[in-house]
Symmetry: C2
Subunit: 148 residues, 2 copies
DNA sequence: TTTCAACTTGTAATCATTACAATATAGAAA
DNA sequence: TTTCTATATTGTAATGATTACAAGTTGAAA
């Protein structure tokens, strides 16, 4: 896990104040796998008793707006968050709602080349996101139950 | 727009009963561009007075489960629906929340080739969805043609 | 250390979606 | 065509994630 000092620096560099809540939220984002807000609230509450859900929602919004974290979308309708701002894609399984990050620079440059040649009429492309749908072959990662 | 007869046949072929509500929902899906449920409700209500929102939600769920339509996800948190079940991708502008369909068989086979060679460990890939993020250069909706 | 904008908190509101129970209807069977 | 019943629709009320708001607290600049 990233040292607190580094997290604090990231927060500060975006012109935000460093607060225990913000640090804890970012740590939770790193610890958990694409958590939904509710999971983050649960996790952070263990470190900061009396934490308000509102704070977590606010914090997530602020961090997203500063591009420190990202929102991710799955087929399940709840929002999820992602600590990793580097360019990556997602492996997603509809059955289990499990999602893993997928890094593939080779694929990225392939796509960049493709779209450099092939212009889309009337559209200025800025970012390519892939969602790779399928099934995971082992159960290793704990599946988060919808209404557990 | 597709003739009612064809729509009715599609519904029936999935073992569902043909109802005015279901036909109207599918027609609305074809008329509107990636509408959210609320837009569908508004549109269908004009043809079927006294329509219950619940019916639309139910109908959408059923049609999705029968793969007659699809759910689509955008950065805005509301669910959207898509009448076109053929494989396609999406052009999406975060500022305006506008979304267009994007067909590109050449790209699809490029990606298929790529992933045929490159196996993802522990993951059985079934479908690739691209979300192309960027900006539309004009306000009128462009119909994306085969080789745009 | 003081000061104050920025941050957090808690309650209440919102709003898309869902549960449920009563009623109506499509379409198979007679 | 009429009957019958599983399937659909409806309306109301509930849910649950998220947001608004107002009051209190705190990080950090001076």
């Amino acid at each position: 896990m990233k040292p607190v000092k580094e997290i604090a620096h990231t927060i500060s560099a975006s012109g935000l104040k460093i607060t225990p809540q913000r640090i804890a939220v970012i740590q939770a984002l790193e610890k958990l796998e694409h958590p939904r807000a509710e999971e983050i609230i649960r996790e952070v509450s263990e470190h900061i008793p009396g934490l308000s859900p509102t704070t977590v929602y606010n914090t997530l919004d602020v961090l997203v707006s500063k591009k420190i974290i990202r929102k991710v979308h799955t087929e399940a309708d709840v929002m999820r968050y992602d600590a990793i701002p580097d360019h990556h894609h997602h492996l997603y399984c509809m059955q289990s709602d499990r999602m893993d990050d997928y890094f593939d620079p080779e694929l990225d440059s392939l796509l960049e080349d493709y779209f450099r040649k092939k212009n889309i009429k009337g559209f200025k492309l800025k970012e390519i996101k892939l969602q790779l749908m399928g099934e995971f072959e082992n159960k290793e990662r704990t599946v988060i139950e919808k209404n557990a």
